[in-house]
Amino acid sequence: MVIYLDNNATTRIDPEVLDAMLPYLTDFYGNPASMHSFGGQVGAAVQEAREAVAALLGAEDTEIIFTSCGTEGNNTAIHAALAAQPEKRHIVTTAVEHPAVLNVCKHLEKQGYRVTYLSVDSRGQLDLMELEAAMTGGTALVTTMYANNETGVIFPIAQIGAIAKAYGATFHVDAVQAVGKVAIDLRHSPIDLLTLSGHKLHAPKGIGVLYVRRGFRFRPFLLGGHQERGRRAGTHNVPGIIALGKAASLARHHLANVTQEGRLRDRLEQGLLDRIPDCVVNGGGTERLPNTTNIGFKYIEGEAILFMLNKHGICASSGSACTSGSLEPSHVLMAMGLPYTVLHGSIRFSLSRFTTEAEIDQVLAVMPDIVEKLRALSPFNNDQSDWLQGRELARSA
């Protein structure tokens, strides 16, 4: 049996979502752009899905552009925002964004844009004064995530947006991790552009949405046919769109119930803290997604923990370098200035509405032994270790 606690990486397809999309892989294969009724029928279903997504976000259906994924949404949003105000050459983002934003910003820096990367504190939270100080009349775009994928930390979106608006900047939000987990109502929000991705809310991979506020001066990123009212060329991924529409409806329904997920998360988090000495919650002490906990188990390394968990059929993820194929530990945890002891031994557990109490209990049953076993192998078994103290126990934040 697999205990899947890596839902911030991707989620299982909800069976109802699968049922909804299947006919569009088999019987209803028409192209919604076609003029015949066989395609038109599909076009109507796409429209329904669009409305379902709009309803989840408190948006209008005309504000929804279907994309292929979160990365495409983020790339499109950033380029569209810059194209809308070509005379402005400054971007503000944060140090803890997903690579789909961070790497675009780095690329733009090479093209001559000035980019400010806002820092975060040890809880993973932004300092609004720092944001305010970074803004100028030349700031074209403020792009931040809604909630962090690694820690679940939620940024103060309304306040960030208010500051961005005060300086006439476009406000883009990468809400890939937040949609479906917290209520978002774009009717009362300063957000101009918002990205989401289907596979994070129980739809399949390969479908996403870019929300574009009505009246926003949008320049398309993908050029070609006139799909999505000329704003995103490319044949519609109909089964994906139908799936996302269904997933959005289910998510909307589930939002009323999200406390259950939060309760299980708290049970897991508190259970681990109670049973295992020397561990800390990364991003604790500030507003977080209800499904995410990121815990640093001191003195041991994340990949080793994951392999031990894997043996028990438990899937989680790690902020350590060794899992990723890169050598740098998670840029998010690094930006929080965590000590290396915590940084390298951090594990993220992310739950979904399918997570059960029994699964959480199973994790609580095996984790203490895993940590104990690895700590017995480690030369750093407490903060007093000479070797540890001699070698940068704490990084300067």
Partner: protein
Amino acid sequence: MWNYSEKVLDLFYNPVNQGTIADTDEPDVAVVYGEVGSIACGDALRLHLKIQESSQVILDARFQTFGCTSAIASSSALTELIKGKTLDEALQITNQDIAAYLGGLPEAKMHCSVMGQEALEAAIYKYRGIEIEHHEDDDGALICACYGVSAPKIRRVIIENDLTTVEQVTNYVKAGGGCGSCLVGIEDILLEVQQERAAIPARVAAEIGEAQAITEVPPRPLTTVQKIKLIQHVLDTEIRPLLIADGGDVELFDLDGDRVLVSLRGACSSCASSTDTMKYAIEAKLRDLVLPTLTVEAVAPQRT
């Protein structure tokens, strides 16, 4: 998820020889440990050895490792490989041997095997009272600040493992895996080593006036002068840089038939057994690159 061999996973889930070795009053027995890595780098290994002083045999080896699956498995492998060996035999163990014992490691994890080899060296050098140079302090020789990796170390791992790309260097010693600002420096070292490599046959041929020696024409037996020149060249380009990096040096003293007489300097000369080690290491290289019949003998350092 990484594709680890059965052996890696087995030694990870069921590690052998973990722990420390307590100091002992037993006669003729020494206990020592060597450390490499750090919490900052994300992996660290403390290797404990119990050594029989008279025979120089490793009676027991244990490890404490902070690191990933393959770091823990590499540590077990290392201890298994060295138990029962003399210190000199143990020093011949390379990171490749550790990886081979494990049935291979993903290339991105080769640095785990390098860490094992370095901890072994650190422990034995410590026992022998040889200071390992802190390369970080070398003038301008620190190439990768993120992981504290010096130019000599990068050179050495390139030569010993026949590395050809920057990515491989990163996989083996981590240099370049952080901010990336040292990638150009690593590339330079790679090019340098490659150029030196490429230059050896041509330069030797030019020096001994036998350009044909490197073409299809079968080589004629070397004259004594040619032999000396070739030995000197290999010493200068292939051996001395490594020794200097470790705080030692070597000089060609004389040649008697196929007997190469060398004098060792610095750390290399400070004790009898390390002299042996160096002798074997140098001999292997010279046999490889000059003549398979050569033997190397160390003579007392000459005052200059």
